[in-house]
């Protein structure tokens, strides 16, 4: 039986290759971050650029921890999707 659970679908998506990620320069990485939806961008930016822990992000953004977790999770998924499209040479 085929399952359509979003988590399973997500895990079946092709992942961006580690080699591609390491080949990026800082400007490309920042550009990819800037393309993440504005709702997910603040926690993901603080996570990677300011190295903030998720509880510190929740305190800084005055958001519940659960909201930050969920936005981080979705933001990372979106960031990987953006990088994957760039890797495949598609226009984002």
């Amino acid at each position: 039986m085929i399952s359509y659970e979003p988590e399973l679908l997500e895990s079946e998506m092709p992942a961006v290759t580690p080699d591609y990620v390491t080949s990026l320069d800082a400007a490309e990485a920042v550009k990819a971050l800037a393309e993440v939806d504005e709702i997910y961008r603040p926690p993901i930016t603080l996570f990677y650029l300011k190295d903030l822990y998720y509880k510190e992000i929740a305190a800084a953004l005055e958001l519940p921890i659960g909201t930050v977790m969920s936005r981080l999770s979705r933001g990372k998924a979106q960031l990987k999707e953006i990088l994957l499209r760039k890797e495949k040479g598609l226009k984002v």
Binding site: E7, S11, A15, V16, P18, V21, T22, L24, D25, A26, A29, V30, E38, I39, R41, P42, T45, L46, F47, Y48, L49, K50, D51, L52, Y53, Y54, K55, A60, L61, L63, V68, M69, S70, L72, S73, K76, L79, K80
Partner: protein
């Protein structure tokens, strides 16, 4: 903690920023140790985070980054509140509900008016025989006899 929560926590977890006394992280890591799917997810997320943060480690975040992010977050929150206030009366459902309510009130008023006037005597019999004829039911035997004899005379 269920598997979905554990996934979210593991995605938000970075070994280099880990607080040892965080019970949520500890629990999610314990689940990952016992579940191969979560283990694979953790491994992939850690590899990605390490690679991506390595690229950014030499960048000095611009001055005022935090302030800009916070003002952006506030602007989003305010626009969400504003939209929530405006949208309710623009929603087609609101108009549909209002139309249904009006129609219901009209029907109720008409029904109440008709109910106050009893149908003339004989009309009920006529309605009854029409309904029975439509349903293919014969009238009660006595009534059928009287109708039949009436039609014969």
């Amino acid at each position: 903690m269920d598997k979905k929560e554990a996934r979210e926590i593991l995605r938000a977890y970075r070994a280099d920023l880990f607080e040892i006394d965080d019970p949520d992280i500890t629990e999610a890591l314990r689940m990952a140790a016992e579940d191969p799917q979560l283990q694979a997810l953790l491994k992939e997320e850690q590899a990605f985070d390490r690679a991506f943060s390595d690229i950014l480690k030499d960048i000095e975040p611009p001055d005022g980054l935090m302030e800009r992010i916070l003002s952006g977050v506030r602007a989003i929150a305010e626009s969400q509140i504003r939209d929530a206030k405006i949208v309710w009366w623009r929603h087609p459902g609101t108009w549909a509900a209002a139309a249904c309510l009006t129609a219901l009130l009209v029907v109720a008023a008409v029904f109440k008016q008709n109910k106050s006037l009893p149908p003339p005597v004989g009309e009920l019999d006529l309605l009854d025989s029409f309904a029975r004829a439509a349903a293919g039911i014969r009238p009660p035997f006595g009534l059928w006899i009287s109708e039949t004899t009436k039609s014969m005379t």
